[in-house]
């Protein structure tokens, strides 16, 4: 007869609650590093789901009931949700800084490449460069005027932004130490630095380095997962091809919104272009196996 294994009583430590779920097309993992009562945790989870739903219903081009889908059908004046202004402002600033490479008008390009709401993943053969911002969009603070119907896609920065909004929600509930990881876009709060592996896009069981972040965000962008035919989910609006010389980028910045947006921008422009305006650290993994890092990036790269 086997005796049951005796488990030593663990040292009392902070209850770490792990909340995991699928949302906005990817996997979320929220670790609360602070003791939270069962009821408080349930309440918090509900608020998180409601907030995500609200965001998704505004900005997702994958659902028929969203604001973005409405905008794709009809020109006109649209009331932006309260969180919309900050998002549009960053998109406009980066559109100008990248000479139009970073644009919310990429939606139609992605659809014509095959990345549509049904995931048909079949190019339509009609792929074309999107119109210039000023030809279509007139942003007036809390309203957005579309001069023509346009399919806007906020995928390049939307997830990072949503992670910021959820972080604010959790803090408002009195939890000050936590890590949110939404499909590789991470925001952390608390005294302990968080170690984040930089996933090797060529072999996702491996990492090319480790970042240690503290009250910051790290967002990664790579073309290894959402890939079909000659494309992956980042397409340059002018060349109409997916960048291949860079395999992955990571940005460490103050906010998820900024880190996510800049991680995409680094596929189109050099870090120096962005450093003129923004403070951030980065790692860029090139197709030839070289990794470039900013000097102050809190990152250890695994050297060959």
């Amino acid at each position: 007869m086997l005796l049951p294994k005796l488990k030593l009583k663990p040292k009392p430590n902070v209850e770490r609650a792990l909340i995991t779920f699928e949302a906005i097309g990817t996997s979320w993992s929220i670790e609360l590093l602070q003791e939270v009562s069962f009821d408080a945790r349930l309440q918090l989870e509900k608020k998180i789901h409601d907030r995500i739903e609200m965001f998704d219903q505004a900005y997702s081009r994958f659902r028929s009931d969203s604001l973005v889908t409405q905008m794709a059908r009809e020109a006109g004046e649209y009331q932006l949700p309260v969180d919309g202004e900050m998002l549009i402002k960053l998109y406009q600033d980066l559109y100008r800084l990248t000479d139009g490479a970073f644009t919310p008008l990429i939606g139609q390009v992605l659809v014509d490449a095959g990345y549509d709401a049904e995931y048909s993943l079949k190019p339509t053969g009609k792929i074309a460069s999107p119109p210039a911002w000023d030809h279509v969009i007139d942003w007036r603070g809390s309203t957005l005027v579309l001069k023509a119907p346009a399919l806007l896609d906020f995928g390049a920065a939307g997830k990072g932004y949503l992670v910021d909004l959820i972080a604010q929600l959790i803090e408002a509930e009195g939890v000050c130490a936590f890590t949110i990881n939404a499909g590789g876009d991470i925001v952390c709060r608390g005294a302990e630095p968080v170690r984040v592996a930089l996933e090797d896009p060529n072999d996702t069981t491996q990492a090319i380095g480790v970042a240690a972040i503290s009250n910051q965000s790290i967002c990664g962008s790579a073309g290894n997962r959402r890939a079909w035919g000659p494309y992956h989910h980042t397409i340059h609006p002018q060349t109409l091809t997916s960048p291949r010389h860079i395999l992955a980028t990571w940005v460490i910045a103050e906010s998820g919104l900024l880190a996510d947006a800049l991680a995409t921008c680094l596929l189109f422009v050099t870090p120096e272009v962005l450093q003129k305006v923004y403070t951030f650290d980065y790692v860029i993994l090139y197709a030839d196996g070289r990794a470039e890092r900013s000097l102050t990036a809190p990152v250890e790269l695994f050297l060959a």
């Binding site: 170690r195 990492a207 079909w228």
Partner: protein
């Protein structure tokens, strides 16, 4: 492993310069990491480093002042602190020097200051360009072996997307 990658990291950091002298700047014990925030600080070693010609550095030696870590919070073999060094190299114009200060915390380089020491205008420009980023060849390490709580990369795809990919592949085979 950490010691090796730190040494290699510093070596690549200098980008072809050979470090011949290093001085540990941070005090011993449990004092906080000193932050080398001022880019204009020029660190000068107390002895003149030897000049090296015709060599590209493939390794770096850090000497003197290194003590085994006693603070159990750190997982690194190197004590937290700021390490300074002056590299000497030969440019077409002659012998040059470049100063480097690294701040190390728990085995990770958290701050780097590269200080051009050159009076030669061509070398100054080169040193400034060299100082803005670092390029290295990297390899993958198994994530299971790393002590990490999170992974960052491209977003995990939903079932719908994976199904679409599978369908496309099946159609392609047909």
């Amino acid at each position: 492993m950490q010691k090796k990658s730190f040494l290699a990291g510093v070596g690549v950091l200098i980008l072809g310069l050979l470090l011949v002298f290093a001085t540990r700047k941070a005090p011993a014990g449990n004092e906080a990491v000193t932050d080398q925030a001022d880019d204009s600080v020029v660190t000068t070693p107390t002895t003149k480093p030897a000049t090296v010609t015709d060599q590209v550095a493939t390794s770096v030696t850090i000497t003197a002042g290194d003590k085994p870590k006693t603070d159990t919070a750190s997982t690194s073999n190197y004590t937290d602190g700021t390490y300074t060094a002056t590299g000497a190299y030969t440019a077409p114009s002659g012998a040059e020097e470049i100063g480097v200060a690294l701040t190390l915390k728990n085995g990770v380089i958290t701050a780097v200051t590269v200080t051009p020491v050159s009076a030669n205008p061509v070398s100054s420009k080169f040193q400034t360009t060299v100082a803005s980023n670092i390029s290295v060849i990297v390899v993958g390490k198994s994530i299971d072996e790393l002590n990490v709580t999170n992974v960052s990369g491209s977003s995990l795809t939903p079932v719908g997307f994976n199904d679409a990919i599978a369908k496309i592949k099946a159609e392609a085979k047909a």
